[in-house]
């Protein structure tokens, strides 16, 4: 029994594996872009704060 057949109980039947795999991977990649942007936002502000604090000392 193939994986596509095993997962055919999900919505979209025999194509469930392909549809959910596509949407799942897309969600992960787009989420990755948002996470990266959020990490950069925090990292840059911390770096700049430290730089200015050092300059003020």
């Amino acid at each position: 029994m193939s994986l596509a057949e095993t997962l055919s109980f999900l919505p979209y039947g025999q194509y469930a594996l392909y549809i959910w795999l596509s949407y799942g991977l897309t969600f992960i990649l787009i989420l990755g872009l948002f996470v990266r942007a959020s990490i950069n936002y925090k990292k840059i502000r911390i770096q700049l704060k430290n730089k200015y604090a050092r300059e003020n000392d």
Partner: protein
């Protein structure tokens, strides 16, 4: 118009404008993606030939479309930075690259996953697929070249030239299904007044394309805002913004 562009070329104005624009892109993205996904996954009827598998179109086509649009924006912005020495154009080009590369990757992955049940294979060295893969390599080359130099000016110059040269790949991707005999299906919009899709299937596709455009807008604005802070870190206005956020 020209005055407005000149004003936007100032890093401080650019930073303030991006900050203001972010919610104007984020909320339309959220609304459109919810409507598009619901319409595409639930309301749209199954295709008479491809069955339910056609629903992959609602992420495959918008991401493929965006992969080319973002590359075009990146190359044009790079060209503007190169010719008119506008630093903010360099910023737009730089921040667009990882976003465009991700759209290209999504288009390639969803295309492969769609190809398996329809063509019986994940991948073929077909003109459309190969030219899209070359687009991904162009993005990766641009990102690598941009990170290879310490001086942002030199990095922008070298990578912009690469982006402009790579523009030649866009018409190849678009017309590949016409110029060569390919496994990939042809364009659905040869005649815009008479598309080959039923409106019930077409409307959610349009909505998803707009949602992806707003998604690019949000991500580019957020990244551009941070990139400006890094580039202008020795300016007084950046110092005051960062210190204000701290207090």
């Amino acid at each position: 118009m020209w005055k407005w562009i000149q004003k936007l070329a100032s890093p401080k104005v650019f930073y303030e404008t991006t900050n203001k624009l972010i919610p104007w892109f984020f909320w339309p993205f959220i609304v459109l993606i919810i409507i598009g996904l619901y319409w595409g996954l639930v309301l749209a009827p199954a295709d008479y030939q491809q069955g339910e598998s056609f629903r992959i179109i609602y992420i495959h086509v918008p991401s493929a479309w965006m992969s080319m649009l973002v590359y075009f924006i990146m190359a044009v912005a790079g060209g503007i930075g190169l010719i008119w020495q506008i630093k903010m154009a360099e910023v737009v080009a730089k921040v667009s690259a990882p976003i465009g590369a991700t759209f290209t990757l999504i288009a390639l992955i969803t295309g492969a996953v769609w190809g398996k049940p329809m063509w019986g294979t994940w991948w073929v060295w077909d003109a459309r697929l190969t030219s899209e893969l070359i687009l991904l390599f162009l993005y990766l080359a641009y990102i690598s070249l941009n990170n290879a130099f310490d001086n942002p000016k030199t990095a922008a110059k070298a990578s912009s030239i690469l982006a402009i040269v790579g523009l030649v790949n866009l018409p190849i991707i678009h017309y590949s299904v016409k110029w060569w005999s390919t496994l990939h299906q042809g364009s659905m919009f040869n005649d815009i007044s008479n598309p080959s899709m039923h409106p019930d299937m077409l409307w959610p596709l349009f909505i998803m394309v707009f949602a992806f455009q707003f998604l690019y807008g949000v991500l580019a604005l957020v990244s551009a805002r941070d990139e400006v802070l890094v580039r202008e870190q020795n300016s007084r206005w950046v110092r005051s913004i960062v210190m204000e956020e701290q207090s």
